[in-house]
Symmetry: D3
Subunit: 339 residues, 6 copies
């Protein structure tokens, strides 16, 4: 049975190495975007996954399709039309200097998609899982509408629905997010959030936590998960816990909340290669875990190990196999050469 | 006295070497655009030149400013604001395979500029020349309005006005171009056109000419220039003559029409490095020639030699000095090593 | 209905630009190989095509699979196993210096494949065309056996069978080739050869032709095609005609022989970007032409225009669309910028 | 009012990544040099800054000018002439392997400049600050003479004068430095030194400090600053404090001494991208701080935060804005992605 | 007097930066292999060293020869012939993601060498040291035979013989290794092993040690060295001690066992640039130390400092001078810029 | 018996592709220089060749040594000392735009060498050929003195002496060249010149020739060779004949004058990859020809074919084998792929 992910794929134009924008004479051109990242990661786990979006017919649109096909993602449900592929510019940070992202996504084909572009009934044939993130409805009220319709149809056909809140302040205000997501999340079975999302979207606070200083409070996160779970009837809530020591070093763990119980993962001290897409790789790991493992602890360890590895990989996509994730989740983080 | 050029500067994302778009993993990131190209070329001729446009305040906008400053173009008249820098994607052709350009310029800061952004009275202080191309009014009716106002003010302040017709079918129809340019060209003193522009914009045909086969007819071009000159009272008309043998080899010459006389330049057989910006380098050469030389033949030879050299240079900008142009115009095209 | 191609895909390690091997500190790593090249080219023409080979399970094998998927080639029939991906090293020539290829393909998974690896009955389901080249049976007597079995099954299921003779003296002698191909070609409907193959494989000479000096004789080639056609009952024979002026400049045309008639294409003067894969792009163009056009002249013009364009593209694969080929075949080789 | 910096700009030829010299087949070509670095950093803070040096008229000299103009530094006071641009070769260290610099600056245009090249009266028009470093007078006795004259004229016109001692043992001995600097520093208002300079130039020791082991002694540095301040009547003395753990990791802080009081900054643990130019970025931060902030603590925190960020940036120049420095100085060093 | 090293040199195809194999479009092409690495490292220490192997006559073989000659290794004893240069593909790890090596060395010229290829009597003229590693006999039983013969001849001529056990499970089983090495090691004077080799080859365990968790036990290693020393009459045994914290950070030290005494080196905390070849650089350092220093502690400190520096250098070879090693061994690991 | 070449080796800093200097952010770093180029070319022909120069002890000097060793040139006669490696900056031309070279060689170790640095008696042991070019004595009067001494010693020991006049107007005037070379050439057996050298150095004109227009006159060149041969008693004079059509296309041939007879080679139409070093590759080819072939026509065909191939190769050095040269000299310039 297939997994369907829906959302944006953008051209990612990143400066090389640690060059600032003003130093760049070349951009590394790859593709990324929340739902695309999840799709590719799942394809690398050998899941049967189809990515749904809208892309222009010109060569840049075709490049996005080719990039997804390369990793084995099904692209036959992608609608072709519209004018542009959204872009994001990336400058990687180091030490005390943060990474910087400039979005140029207005007017992209998916932002200007209309509800008639997608035939959800057909898209969900042979599918048992539907995933999207909060960025998708944030793109445009019309796209929010499409997302809501997709959820309704998915629910009707009995798919599991997962959503990563992924609040982006450049796309909408907390008020707008709250209004829209409050309609959508009731259809969602599995809700993913990071340390800020719940607060920004639903005004749910983790007590005694300061994101800037890296202080995170276990109890607070349990409350947040409980609140989301109860308010929207999500059977599973997962929260990623990032302690940002610097742009080069982070600590990374997560919590799974299921059946009224919280399960905390190991914490990894990560020396960062590329942090973008870290959240999406967690989402993909979680979906895989929920589909293949029984025990909550196993599920959350898989998701966190998967996303831990993502931080060591260039580009948005998580290019790791299930075996690689399991090796880490099972305790070998020594990084010894594999010959 | 300063030269003012007005128009667009775009981020040019070109694949490396002869890679097709679907092969690219990097884009060479430079800047270009008709009026920017003319400004940089004139700055390389040591002219005092100021480029007027609108650019966002973010880093990508700043990169465009920096790139112009690098070549000594005055950027203090650039308005900062709006959301994006227009983009064009370029794949260089070779042999029978043509170069391919994909524009992504909608929504750029300059396309969405408003008349109140520019104070032409102040911009034209200390200036004696104003240049723009047909692409600028084509961007948006509001920008066409701004261009017309600029022409009026320039005329009032006694500047020479030059315009390269530069018809682009992706930006407007012949009908739209005709309507708008018919209002603007009467203010223009120096009109530049290539082998297609006069036909597409003003429905003026060069008889017995076939652009695809590379047949060009001298008499026909004299008629075209005469017609433009008389219809719009331009004291100077220049027409570039490109014979496209393949994407790798072109023949290149031009004609100057002044005082009822036509002056044809030498023709160069060019082995092409980068053909984009060829027309703009001709415009810059022509402006320089008109400002510094007396004899029409000298003027047109300078303009053609300048643009001939551009075809051997990567990127939109013509990076050559007056001395280099004169060496070629005076007959040394042997390409022997300069030690 | 699907097209099946069968053969080798190798890692192509090419020095950058015009570097000789002793100058290389990096290799451009792409993939190529006769049957893979035909498959990708057909996929770029939007044909439904499946490539059959054997590749190791390790990451380098996976990279080959990913590269094919990227262009939309079906890879689900590829057998996984064995130890290595064959390699060829390439140094591009220029002017009087020829390109140089060093093969390192012994021991590759496909070379050591066994007949039980492939279930041709299943592979040919929903297929109506089978293509391979003379390199495939030359890899190894066992692979020759597999090829023969595939031909028999294809014939049984009523597929059209095409074969490019593609003689390689480093793989086998003329005697070995003759013996093996004489068994296989009787199953073939469409036989493709270049100016040397017929002589080296079947001892059929084109009279008055000297490959080194570039003299080619039309009458001689008609005789060759007639002889092949009659000896093996191929309904179609196509011969490519290359005049090698230098490593930088070639002339290129071809002849189609059908129903006792010879049809010669236009001849193109090509400024070469990358000549490797030129023959395979002709094969793909021919297959496309035979499937979609009626008139022999149209078919051969399509095949030659397709392969002409290949010479302007880096890498083994021909990355052009049907529209691009038709534009050239219909007469526009001017290489003017497509905006 | 303008800031004038005077000194050297060199071509910096750095191996890529962590390549040793013997591995390099390419050099990254940028520009740098003490006074140029300070000028660019100040331009990035939006200060009006003019850099004074001498550069040859050939293209490499022009490249240096262009590089400065790119960042908005005024280059109109640069004298053109002489034969060469000085060069330094750089190999970046990592872990226990130190970075290595090879200077090739003898015979550069600035080293061979003569006093008549510079008209300081005119240069200082509209300026209120003059900055140079100890490297400038060390280049050549004649350049030392020019520096002294510049100081006298600056003092006459009432500019603030700042100098970074910047002792370089390859350029002169401690004795020579002492003799020359003892004449110059009395004109200086703001004196900058690192942990070794005071000792090498003025034989002033920081007690109980061992540069190699990274032990630094607060009291010792206060004594040093007091001594400099009193001996030469500098109203401000700043000392940078580097603890070199390895080529990859440093700790970095500084002390400001003003009005008999010492102000120590926060200390940053830095994961190094490029350490060259770290001292110059401190100088620029200090000048900015002294011009814009009242409180000594604010000034030193700004200077240290600015130079902390420099260590995360490739190349000599500090490419950060005032906002970015303030964000760090105000406590956010978490390196979280800025979207 | 010369040092002879015998073994393999392979083409090392490494992805750039931290790219995974599936992301690579280029491979960095260098050469490496246990005995070649030791030879180059010794040549960089200014030792007179000759590397013995077999390489094909084609250009890729020549590239390997050129690469060795570049560093001053004598290549005149290299036998030319056979078909291929062995290859290894490398993907560098980071943080929790391990480096990955894929070997493609079957069928290489050295693997298929025959005893008659090498005239050891002549090779050992003017030589006083012979070095090889356990990888060499593991390549092929015939090569094991050649190695044994070389040892016998070396012993006869009175050379010192050193061997690094270097067990590789992909090349042979513990049983095979045990059988072969038990014949060879009795000829060896200096035996080098890492934390796993002794166990895998000779079933000698270091008690209370867990390689994965990084726990190493001093006493255990002394027992191992003692056992090797006594069983095979090696006068010197050296054991490297790696604590793998992650793919980015390792701790590194070693122990020398001589005359019944164990000497432990300092331990270095290394931030890794390239870990491959680390063991070989230790071997080269040890050989140099044994030839030039008296005291065991000096010898082991030199060997460990040399290999510590290797971890900061790209590529297999250790490109450091004796002076650089001594600076570190003598205590300066601060990584301060060397100007 | 060995060949000795004496002269300069410089760091060649070339922009990538067709970038102008002002576009470069990287330089391709290789080495070249007249006598070094001849040495490497001869080493590639498997001659035993030793290059004599002076180079600094620092890493950049070492890189030059390594680069020569890589190709098998003996470097043991190179004197180490002095301060710098000379540099030349190169920007490759195309079409009508000439290549541009900026020299920065003043103060290089070889320019400042003293006669006591070289012990010619020892250098010439086991040698039978001595080669240098006119650039060597032009570096500095002291180096001219060294060259003269070398010639005297070479003559005494009975070596053949060859010299390429290689006039460089940036190094000395015609008058200076005339004076110095008139003393040196009498020792020379084989004199090489291009179309300008004889005129610039010895005021010997080829009648009816215009270098700029590419007109070359056979009779004129015979006169020139005769004059040189008779005036200085050179038994062999060779003159290269370049017709520069553009920076991309040249025609290339040469003439050998021996025993009062002139032998003209074939003329090659060359599509240029890198023209620098073309003359040196001719010199090397000539030396090889004179040592290995009997017939003058064979000799000159070898030399011209060798240098023809050089134009297709990046960098100063000619990286071709004797077999490759012979294939071309014997008539195969078709550039067909060598598989």
């Amino acid at each position: 049975m297939k997994i369907i992910t829906f959302g944006e794929i953008m051209l990612r134009l990143a400066t090389h190495g640690f060059y600032r924008f003003t130093q760049a004479t070349d951009y590394e051109a790859t593709f990324g975007g929340c739902a695309a990242n999840v799709a590719v990661s799942l394809a690398n786990f050998n899941e049967d996954v189809s990515f749904v979006t809208k892309l222009p017919t010109h060569d840049i649109g075709q490049c996005a399709v080719n990039d997804l096909r390369k990793y084995g993602v099904d692209t036959t449900m992608i609608v072709r039309g519209g004018n542009r592929v959204g872009i994001y510019y990336l400058e990687k940070g180091a030490s005390q200097r943060p990474s910087k992202v400039i979005y140029d996504r207005a007017g992209s084909s998916i932002s200007e998609a209309s509800p008639t572009d997608f035939d959800w009934k057909e898209i969900f044939l042979d599918a048992d899982w539907f995933h999207f993130t909060g960025i998708t409805p944030a793109l445009n009220p019309q796209v929010a509408q499409i997302t809501l319709e997709a959820c309704k149809e998915a629910k009707k056909q009995g798919l599991q629905i997962s959503c990563d809140l992924n609040f982006r302040k450049k796309l909408w205000t907390s008020e707008q997010a709250n209004k829209t997501m409050s309609e959508i999340i009731p259809y969602v079975d599995v809700c993913i959030a990071n340390e800020e999302d719940a607060e920004k979207v639903f005004n749910i606070h983790a007590s005694k936590t300061n994101v800037l200083t890296g202080e995170l409070n276990r109890e607070g996160y349990i409350e947040v998960a409980k609140e989301i779970s109860e308010r929207f009837h999500c059977h599973t809530v997962a929260i990623t816990l990032r302690k940002s020591i610097s742009a080069s070093d982070n600590k990374w763990s997560a919590m799974l909340y299921q059946g009224g119980q919280a399960y905390f993962s190991k914490e990894y001290a990560i020396h960062i290669v590329d942090r973008v897409g870290g959240g999406d790789s967690f989402g993909a790991g979680l979906i895989y875990g929920l589909r293949h493992f029984e025990k909550p602890q196993e599920i959350i360890e898989f998701a966190v190990a998967a996303s831990c590895l993502k931080h060591s990989i260039e580009g948005d996509y998580n290019r790791v196999t299930v075996d690689e994730v399991l090796t880490l989740a099972n305790g070998d983080g020594s990084g010894r050469v594999q010959r």
